[in-house]
Symmetry: C2
Amino acid sequence: VLSPYEFIAEKQRGNSHKPSEIHDFIQGFIEGEVHDYQMTAWMMSVFFQGMSYEETIALTKAMIQSGNRVDLSNINDPTGDKHSTGGVGDKITLILAPLLSASGMVIPTIAGRGLGFTGGTLDKLESIPGLSTALSIDEIKDLSFRNGLAFGAQTDDLVPADRRMYALRDVTSTVRSLPLITASILSKKVAEGIGSIVFDVKCGKGAFMETEPEAIELGQWLVNCAERFELKAAALITTMDEPIGRTVGNWLETEESIDVLRRKYMPPDIVELTESLGGTLLMLAGITGNIEQGINRLREAWNNGSAFDKFSQAVNAQGGDTGVFEENHGIYDQPRIVIPLTASKSGYISEIHAREVGYCGVLIGAGRKKTDDVIDPTSGFIFKKKVGDFVQQGEEILLIMGNDESQCKTVHNRLSGGVTIMKKEPAKTPLIRKVITREGNFEWLDYRNSK
Amino acid sequence: VLSPYEFIAEKQRGNSHKPSEIHDFIQGFIEGEVHDYQMTAWMMSVFFQGMSYEETIALTKAMIQSGNRVDLSNINDPTGDKHSTGGVGDKITLILAPLLSASGMVIPTIAGRGLGFTGGTLDKLESIPGLSTALSIDEIKDLSFRNGLAFGAQTDDLVPADRRMYALRDVTSTVRSLPLITASILSKKVAEGIGSIVFDVKCGKGAFMETEPEAIELGQWLVNCAERFELKAAALITTMDEPIGRTVGNWLETEESIDVLRRKYMPPDIVELTESLGGTLLMLAGITGNIEQGINRLREAWNNGSAFDKFSQAVNAQGGDTGVFEENHGIYDQPRIVIPLTASKSGYISEIHAREVGYCGVLIGAGRKKTDDVIDPTSGFIFKKKVGDFVQQGEEILLIMGNDESQCKTVHNRLSGGVTIMKKEPAKTPLIRKVITREGNFEWLDYRNSK
């Protein structure tokens, strides 16, 4: 058996680990024989020397074995999930999970919290008064079986190795390593017990991966390793330059998601992301023969109200007060401060910098700088205009909503620099760029039409 | 001010740290704001990305500032020290320090303990009953002032950052980094308050640096950085293939050193190392005009007994029982087990593998595998033959001495493979190869004759 020292030295020299060595190291970490300071030294070696698919799969397995798995074997319907690498205004899970569940899939979502400029599904859901995402593995299994939909948080016994490793990576600059990212995401998704998965790998100014080649590489890692766990997988490479939809902020985004599920209004970017990811997953899961049929199936569940009913049922089952879904519910106070950002000149909006919006969200309490920061559920931004829209000088582009006047003013100044207006109408960047499957990389529209 | 995360990320990207950033990081580490797991991630980044001389000097300064320094400003005589990178049977400090002190220098030695295959000066000295090396900074200063010689251990308040960083490097495979080695060695030597230093950088089978180019590189780092602290410095590149002298083991080596100081017998390798290192240091310190004069001065102190008197005085001052210096003192029991290793065939000894001897020493209790292992002061090896000697089949090459019979037998088997006998007389490798000064690298004999 290698000592932790020898294990670290092997990776430092650029050698490959054997699966059993990786298993022993992770097991030792869980049992306290491998110290945090050895784990971070090893992860920094992995950052520099990399790992093969084989090593990454062994790491993923060892991480899963550090805890328990959700056992969905008593469920006959296809199971699946969508995972996004994180964005600004990304509320797609809230809309897509009930749509998929209403289309014949079982979706035992295990979601995350916001950190830095990216938001988190759990924070959005928990802005619904009473709703708890602290589900045990048995509760996730039970809700999946009964309702076909659950929204859970990573529990203490679900991949505990990942939670501890991620906390260390977060403070030692080792988040950005493809094998470590892949093992972190996949271990949780495999432990969910699902049969298929679609990854939304975002690229752009408000994404973890800023360039398309980086996003494609991560997509390939995720899809190729997922296949080794008998998880049917595809990754969509999507643009993340401006915030998604019309809102950023936890309650604001939940409210928007409810409006979209009810078809009260349909922001084109939300609809396109939801349909593309959902249609792909329904095809992967074998519910429909191709993506187009999958999209039609989703639209059906959308139009006949069954998706919204699924969402209400899930919220209800997790203790949430669905009274907030009604107009003029009076449950929430509006934020005290609302400051509009107006156009400094007339022209076309060419940029609303998503990362800047995300960081500004942290300043007004809509996001977290550190994992233990407390969130203000009502603060955030409402976008009256989107990139490509024409504005007159003095017209409102967005509203800054919060409860701390001086922070709102700071954000107003900072966001003025994050919004660009130009004379010429900006060129359109496609929202869904590419799709990665185990067969290779394809242009999205070609693939969609061919399947 | 950079956060620990940002500081790590800068080095990870290959950027240079500013001196103030390095100071803040080390200060934060001492104050508990920078965690062990961040220190190890940073040191692993340094391993991969390196540091410049400027960064290394800033690190050394910051480490020194983590504690107190020995203030030798009340001493008029030149102060100095010798530092060895570690070897097997390396007892030179015990002999050289009193010789230098008897030659007009003040030597406030702060020495280390053995770890792995290398021995440590402190362990050897502490095999003298009663002798304590746990001196405070004030005691080191006081003994230096009164006797011109002290043998101290690194105290809690002398470069505490180094002790903690070294303990972490030792278990995360980040010992082998030139900037980290340089800062670790130099910080302690500068904190000793000395004016000149000679480094014994060993290379070969029983050395930390196995090849000459590696040893030369370390020598250059040490000398070039030392000069920036107004420390007159030179590094001798010396061969470390077979154990030095006729013994390995703590009391055995101390006994051998006493015999050498008394000129009872003079192993040529011990004499050559002692004279070369000492002559160079006396020249650096300005006591003699050149190396040859320095060597003559040492021989004088050796011949007239003043060096041995210095040693006795120092041992006495630190509580040691000088009764063990007498023949038939009866203070120590001989080890219970003595097993000879005999020649399997007649011929010339071409190798006695120093690293193997060192690791075998750990097995019989003469060394440490972990820092908290307890040492058996009397166990070790006596070499009846050295490399180049002719042996008859069945003749004794060395004695294995210990108190655990089965371990001694294991070592006997293992050491059979560490000793090689050949028909032809082996070619001689020079013991002192090169000297590194701030003027450049020179062949030792050329340099010695030119100075």
